[in-house]
Amino acid sequence: MERFEDAALLTGQGRFLDDLPTAPGTSHAAILRSPHAHAEIISIDVARAEALAGAYAVVTGAEAKSWSEPFLVGVKQPMEHWCVATDRVRYVGEPVAIVAAESRYIAEDALALIDVEYRVLPAVVDVMAAMAPNAPVLHPDVGANLINERKFKYGDPAAAFAEASHIVRASLRYPRNSCTPIECFALVAEYLAAEKTYDVLANFQGPYALHPVMARALKVTGSHLRLRTPADSGGSFGVKQAIFPYIVAMALVSRKAARPVKWVEDRLEHLLAASSATGRISNIAAAVAADGTIQALELEQIEDCGAYLRAPEPASLYRMHGVLTGAYDIPHLAVTNRIVLTNRTPSGLNRGFGGPQVYFALERLMQRIAAELDLDPLDVIQRNLVPAARFPYRAAAGAILDSGDYQACVNQALDEGGLAALRIRRDEARAKGRHYGIGFAAAIEPSISNMGYITTVMMPEERRKAGPKDGAVSTASIAIDPLGAVIVTADSIPQGQGHRTVLAQVAADALGLRPQQITVNLEHDTQKDGWSIAAGNYSSRFAGAVAGTVHLAATRLSERLAEISARQLNVDAADIILSGGRLYARGNPDNSLSFGRVAGAGHWSPATLPEEMPPGMRETASWSPDQLTAPGEDDRINGSAAYGFIFDFCGVEIDETTGRVRIDKYVTMHDAGRRLNPALVDGQIRGAFAHAVGAALYEELAYGEDGSFLTGTFADYLVPTACEIPELLILHRDSKTDATPLGAKGVGEGNCMSTPVCLANAVADALSLEDVALPMTPARLAAHLHGAERPPADTRPDAATVPATGKGRGLAGSGASLVSAPPEQVWRMVLDPDTLAAIIPGCESMERLGENTYRATAVIRIGPIRGRFRAEIKLSELDAPRGLTLSGSAVGPLGSGAGSGRVRLTAEADGTRVSYDYSAEIGGKVAAVGGRMIDGAARILISEFFKRLANMAGGSAGEKNSLWQKIAQPLGLSR
């Protein structure tokens, strides 16, 4: 069966937001973003930008403060998150000002005309450093970066640990990554002044619990924020949840510009500032019997939510809370959760949402248990799985695992996936000295999130005060028109998965029609369509909740049609069959009526309808799973309506020369309940697997220690392509469940949870590693393969001074140059402002701010790249004529930099030896997109400075032509 979506998508007729027509006069927005990870905003001057021809309006924190409020969030602390920075920026890329202009080109031109004065503050990007006593604090009123800590105890973990024969521990760090949809954020916002209503069309994906958050931020009732979604959205994977602050910001821009404003996020903006999965440190321990039976778990989770806790966070930490014991029957559990803010992009929804972090810890621990107790890792998994007889199974922290037979799934996977053959393959490879390993992982894939799980972060007494939150309401409508055509609408907000196809199938099944006869329109409008806070495209809610609700609506309609036709056919309604576009009595297909005729009665002749049947022909169904109750007094929470099961195993080989991982074989077994469309299920599994391979081997949103962002393009943020994704074997074993109307469970995220750790376990097996860090890059793995490094034949100054910091865009270097003038003369030159101006590369103007302090404007060129920077330069620690410290900072449209260098002058026979060492940090755009180039670029600039100094001093002491060589040699610039 073909997907109904594909004909349009494959012929370029998709209706994505940027394809849609806009109203005449629509303006285009561009955003000025912070180049600093942490800084106070001293002043913003937008006068020149506003004066630019074609620029309509500039919005800054001032407008945000007068027309909006900070966003609401589930953890109450004195911290404010505005849609545009007000007095302080807390991550690189945070919006500082927004320009609306006639075109995006002019808007971007205007950005360069906005002058922002910052006072740079120390930044903290490491979550452990952020909790240290002297760490820079992001939100001063909170007083610390640890904004929430909760401890939970289920059963008696302390006793279990005290009595355990073995305790196995592991510490893991899950990096920041993101699923990077191919279409970035896009929206058109318009303030309808006469209606006092913000009308926004955006490729938002839900959850619609954020609609009240946006309406409150805009200081309007929900009905005055009309939010519509386009027909097509180019992927989301959770990420497009994070467009919501921009919806608010652009609503304000349209209000100020008094015209519609369109904004399409570009890739640099997206990677820099859209969203990220949370980074997490997990310290996990198990109390284990000698045979590998786990009696208790202890888990400490430290969550990096970035610069602001942004709704629905801290959901990443609590989505999996009820099922922290995974697929295992572990009665005792202790949990400590810490939520920490750092100078990184705020976190948000991302495929797998909390699952990858949890299973990376839990399933690595399973492998460590096997390694430490000398057991087979597969045995440890199998021994602890929830037994089939125990379903529905109540997990220690509250999840109600609805159905499954985990042992049967594992056995089927081992058999059909060929584990025995894989083990032979491993043994043969190892016999040849190759690095081959096998990994396993078991995971529970939750679907249809309980709207109340986030309140687990609150103490029970706080929850009592706030009132209960629970459930997951889904809404769908089916209408049959006067000629019998069927139209389905629902609150699923698809982003390319094929929801229309599945809903057509589901409705067609109930109505006795062909799927091709059903029209499904999933464009959504909060003023006109049914929705509740759980609406949207997340938590794998589609198959269970949305399709289930459509099924309920369709079933009600089919019952109505049966009742109408029963009267005309003189049979019982219970005996009416809907099939092939007709309604007929069971056993007598000739006694039939056409579907259109029966359905049309509701429109053409309501008087003929059975008593008490409403006129027209429309059914709206709303459904919420009964099993989703609010967290109890005991903090137990059933976080999701349904729980699927995944069991993966794989074989990998690591190349001795390069450290590269090759996935030799990958088997994934799923129990997702009833599969509504098997091809789409397998498509979801393949997609999640590809994302997971990215997370395991390639992807990390990297930051320098100063908070500069380093992966602003797809040349640095490495999403695997078709070339990097191996074939995988997908297996199924479907269990029956009553958890959802159709017996379907979600399947969209599972491999994002199981695959990274399965691959990590295989790599650990191949290289006998205790600790595995993600992503498992060749350089990281090679460090385990290549042993101690061979030194150079001679000790050389170059080698010694090559920075080996590994801290990203922090640069350091040194060099020397011979100048044919005595030290005193060189000294006077450096201290003379005019000379200094002449030797600073590209210096256009320089003014004295104070004693040995200057402000300069310089145009810096590296090859074709050119950027104007405003710099402050200071000479200090003067030791005439022997040495001084030159320090400075620069900021411009290309980014920012700060650094200092010690310059030493030594008298030599024919002049002065000028030697120097420097360290610098580069941030902003140039660090984000040009990371590979920055070291070389800095070296060019610094050598240029000394070349000019030497020239000013009358040339170098040696042959003039070789001056460049003399400077360049120690810098590695020459051969």
Partner: protein
């Protein structure tokens, strides 16, 4: 991600292009395939006053084999060279290296000379030019000069090209009879910038090794033709250290040095097996 305003000149002739270049100098940029320049324009890393499009200059779209050189015009795409029937016999090194240059789609538009002009330290074509001791032909309205590879690429994105000059052709020496050529690259994904790339020529008279992706530009060295065994490892170790590798978030300096040693050895051995 929209470029800053610029004037656009779609050149009808080389003379016109050079005249505009003479007038605008450093404020002008040549657009040939645009596979690097266009994204840089969009990110506003480059903001030229004038963009001179030479992609339609058919006179510069050629591959010629004469005087011992394969001469490639400035408008010639990488794919044109990659699919040139004589490539495997005339320039086996380029035949091995070209598939590593970006992706097939980018090679359809990207030009050989554009890659040399941009002087990316990780780019494959400058590495090949350095190993083969090729030349770059520079032309301005006033003069024409030929610059050797070693004198052309000066550092990170920096070349000896003057503001009024454009590269009109690159000249790769035709393969020496009996010599073996090999190219190896380690990139994180297919088509990525090399963490390290090694090109080797093994002729009767010498062994020549060049490394890209590690230093600020390709570095090439000559060794005795019979270098092997421990002496080869010693030489590659010195070469690895001489490149002054730096850490970045993709790989450590140490990893890059290790690639130079290990891929270096592999590539030399491969070239030697191809030597007649």
């Amino acid at each position: 991600m929209k470029p800053a305003p610029f004037d656009f000149v779609l050149s009808d002739s080389l003379e016109e292009a050079l005249a505009v270049l003479t007038e605008a100098g450093e404020d002008a940029r040549i657009l040939a395939g645009g596979q690097t320049l266009t994204p840089m324009l969009n990110m506003r890393l480059v903001e030229p006053a004038v963009l001179i499009d030479i992609s339609g200059l058919h006179a510069l779209d050629y591959i010629r084999c004469e005087n011992g050189y394969i001469e490639v015009g400035a408008a010639t795409t990488q794919v044109a060279v990659e699919t040139w029937p004589d490539l495997p016999s005339q320039a086996p090194l380029l035949a091995q290296a070209l598939p590593h240059v970006g992706h097939f789609q980018t090679r359809n538009r990207g030009t050989v000379c554009g890659s040399l002009a941009f002087a990316d330290p990780s780019a494959e074509l400058p590495l090949c030019l350095a190993l083969l001791e090729g030349e770059v032909m520079l032309q301005s309205s006033a003069r024409r000069r030929v610059v050797k590879a070693a004198d052309f690429q000066l550092g990170m994105l920096s070349t000896a090209r003057q503001g009024d000059e454009m590269i009109i052709a690159a000249r790769f020496p035709v393969a020496e009879a009996g010599a073996g050529y090999a190219f190896t690259e380690m990139a994180l994904r297919h088509g990525d910038f090399a963490l390290a790339a090694v090109a080797v020529m093994a002729s009767a008279g010498r062994l020549r090794v060049a490394v890209g992706g590690v230093a600020d530009r390709p570095l090439a060295r000559n060794y005795p033709a019979d270098l092997g065994g421990d002496a080869l490892d010693d030489a590659l170790n010195e070469l690895a250290w001489d490149l002054a590798a730096a850490d970045d978030h993709h790989a450590t300096a140490r990893y890059r040095r290790e690639l130079v040693r290990r891929l270096g050895r592999q590539t030399v051995e491969e070239a030697l097996t191809c030597r007649a």
